[in-house]
Amino acid sequence: MGLETLNPLMSLVWNFTAAIARIAWWASIALLATALCLEGVARLLGQKPQSIAAGLSATVPDGYAGWQLRPNVTTGVDWAATNSRGLHDRRELQLKPDPGVFRVAVQGSSVTYGPGLYLKDTLPMQLENLLNQRGHSAEVLNFGVHGYNLLNVLGQSVAYTLQHEPHAVVLVLDLQVSYPVEPTMIHRKPVEPAGVKQLSVIDSWLKRWSESSVLLTWLDFPMGLRRPVDALGLRLNSVQGGKFESLGSPKANAGQSSTVTVADTKGLLKDETPLSQRPQVRSRRLRSLLAAVLAAYRESGIGIVVVPPFGPYYAEVDENLARFSLQMIANYSEEYGGLRQALVGELGRITNDIQQVGRRYGAVVLNLDSVNRQMTLGTSDLVSPDGIHPTPAGYRFLAGQIADSLSGLPRPARQASQDRLE
């Protein structure tokens, strides 16, 4: 068959392709015009494109602490703001404290960070205000990072917090922080730390371009449509009452366990610890890492206050308890014979471990047991409905307790050996 015989067929193909191209061209023009109009209307209605830093993950990978907060998030909303050091603060801070300033570092998870709250309502800021009211020239730094546990806190302490030369450190050990994970050593691909995930090319493209367009912002984050739709008097969906979804921690860590259960292809990592010995194993891990954090600070002559878990974990009704963000405890229901029993048992174990190790390393450990035993969601407004994150009133209560302890900190044992060196 010669090429000449293909001519009619070829011209048909050419004509068809040209028609398709014409349609595609005009459709693109129409789509672009519509999108431009929509973008213009959205902007006239006061909508703004999202900030790339807030639109991406709230955390970035780190080589020592697992991950840290994304720095330089300067969006309008208080609860996403971070400074250039990645601290949840709008103020820029010097590495070393100014002379005469009493610097306190508060470390922990999102409980320290204060998700969904104005900066003035977070624990560090309320503590700073309280200390200043009491006549100290205090500067309290918020080292809280979503999803942190003690393993992250230890890395953060030795790599970064010590460099800021705080005079005192407050460790807020909520339930999540008290279960340091054991990462697997076997990895053939780079491990994504909890709360940090690699975006696909399309996802990352969309995120980056959404910074310049309201429409793309809505495409990337459809919930952003809620506000303009509500403003128009329409309702897409009612906001769930009691659902307290933090920026990263509970969701990011769902499915994580404090014990090594990641089955390797060779079966090297299988956890064969008998059920009855598992609390001891967890205690050993908690004590080891807590001791390491406290030792690092003690050796630098820094005073330490430890805040044990704070929440309505004893008197709360079963229905509310089941709604709390207590995935880490749910893993141990089998050991204790139920969620409530597991919660009470684990709380007792954790509090005991914290008190013993804290005492050994010269830390002040707050006693929140009686408050925890009396508190319920119905009778107290100190904790939000997720059972983990305190409310502004809860933070105020904790700030008061911490401020009292800071004034009575014993002289750190480390000072003696420093004197010896001098």
Partner: protein, 411 residues
């Protein structure tokens, strides 16, 4: 129209034939190179021999089954051919040895490394079985070791841990306190797509290996052929890993301020105090973590011929960590001795505080010369096989005693 199509057809023909010829030539060259005894590079040679880690900064690249023993790592990235379970077998005591390339065993066969020599000596000294794991990672300081301990080492449930402190280990760095989108791991860089593809493919082809790492060809040809391509410099030390990781290498060769000390005393107590505080904090964290887990810990102080050598020899040692303190002490020798003394006091204090056991190598250091006995490589930092043997003989009696004591405490 027909001419255009004919031209396109001819062009396609030429391209296909050229590609086929190129492919055939490549295959022939690949076969020839393999017949000549050249093989594709190991991953550790093509890539970096370390990989980033989220808690310890970096660690050894796992699963390197290289021809050269010096590069071998197992599934976990230990410098070892054996694979281990997370939990030691019943009645098997496990000892882990942590440190930098000094523990890893640069330029040593596997059987000559410190952990393996310790294992042999322990098996002779103890009645029950024992295994020793090599947790040494190139370029480590105590900061990395704390992350390694809390994230990984404790999970291996050791009976005892031996922390080998060379001079590099005693300067835990302070990472830049500003979060960056890229993970911070010195010596690990992100490759562009072409480079990454080339390096990955190099595992399967000698030709691509040569393109990816041309320096390796010279090394391999030198080994293969009797002809010397280039005279090897006498006294040229294989660069310590820390140097490969980007720290200025030349600072150790030509310390800028080598001069006789007038006073020999510390010139800046505040700066020395700050270094002491950092060392004590990080070492304290490490020892506390083990202490709470009931693990017996031995800490070995820096071991090296730093006293009975001439200034010239000392200047050739890889001691660039001390170089910045020359102005404080008035000379390189004084800085080395001053810092060694400070480190010893700090380590001893913290070791006592946390109930660990100290293996102080200062008495040996005071007597050692650069090559008599020949305990060290020319860099003055990494022991030779006989140096490791001596170190093992110093550690074993103390370690056995510490392990027995810890067992009695447990009972």
């Amino acid at each position: 129209m027909p001419v255009r199509w004919l031209l396109i057809g001819r062009l396609a023909q030429v391209v296909s034939v050229t590609l086929a010829l190129l492919f055939a030539t490549g295959l022939a060259a690949e076969s020839l190179l393999r017949i000549c005894g050249l093989w594709p590079l190991d991953p550790a040679q093509v890539h970096s021999d370390i990989v980033p880690d989220s808690y310890s900064g970096w660690r050894m690249r796992p699963d390197v089954h290289a021809a050269r023993e010096q590069e071998i790592t197992n599934n976990f990235g230990f410098h070892d051919q054996r694979e281990y379970a997370n939990k030691p077998a019943p009645n098997l005591e496990r000892v882990i040895v942590q440190g930098s390339s000094v523990v890893y065993g640069l330029k040593c066969g596997l059987s000559e490394t410190l952990p393996r020599q310790l294992e042999r000596a322990l098996l002779k000294a103890k009645s029950n079985p024992v295994e020793v794991l090599n947790f040494g990672v190139q370029g480590y300081s105590l900061l990395n070791a704390v992350g390694q301990t809390s994230a990984y080492a404790l999970a291996f449930q050791p009976t005892a841990a031996v922390i080998v402190l060379d001079i590099q280990m005693c300067y835990p760095e302070e990472p830049i306190p500003v979060p960056r989108p890229e993970p911070d791991a010195r010596g690990v860089k992100r490759l562009d797509p072409t480079e990454a593809w080339l390096r990955r493919s190099a595992k399967h082809s000698v030709l691509l290996s040569i393109v990816a790492a041309p320096g390796q060809l010279q090394l391999r040809l030198k080994r293969l052929l009797p002809l010397a391509l280039k005279q090897e410099k006498a006294g040229k030390i294989p660069s310590a890993p820390v140097n490969e990781l980007g720290t200025p290498n030349d600072s150790a060769k030509t310390p800028p301020g080598i001069k006789k000390s007038r006073t020999g005393t510390v010139g800046n107590p505040a700066a020395a105090m700050a270094r002491s505080r950092r060392l004590r904090s990080v070492l304290g964290a490490l020892l506390a973590a083990y202490s709470e887990s009931g693990v017996a810990v031995l800490v070995v102080t820096p071991f090296g011929p730093y006293y009975q050598v001439t200034d010239e020899v000392l200047a050739r040692f890889t001691l660039h960590h001390v170089t910045p303190f020359i102005p404080e002490y008035g000379g390189f020798r004084q800085a080395v001795h001053g810092e060694l003394a400070r480190i010893r006091v700090d380590v001893e204090t913290v070791v006592q505080e946390y109930g660990a056991v100290l293996v102080d190598m200062t008495p040996e250091n005071l007597k050692l010369t650069a090559d008599a006995p020949p305990y060290f490589l020319k860099d003055g930092v990494h022991p030779s096989p006989s140096g490791y043997s001596y170190l093992a003989s110093r550690i074993v009696p103390v370690l056995v005693e510490a392990m027995n004591r810890e067992r009695q405490k447990g009972n």
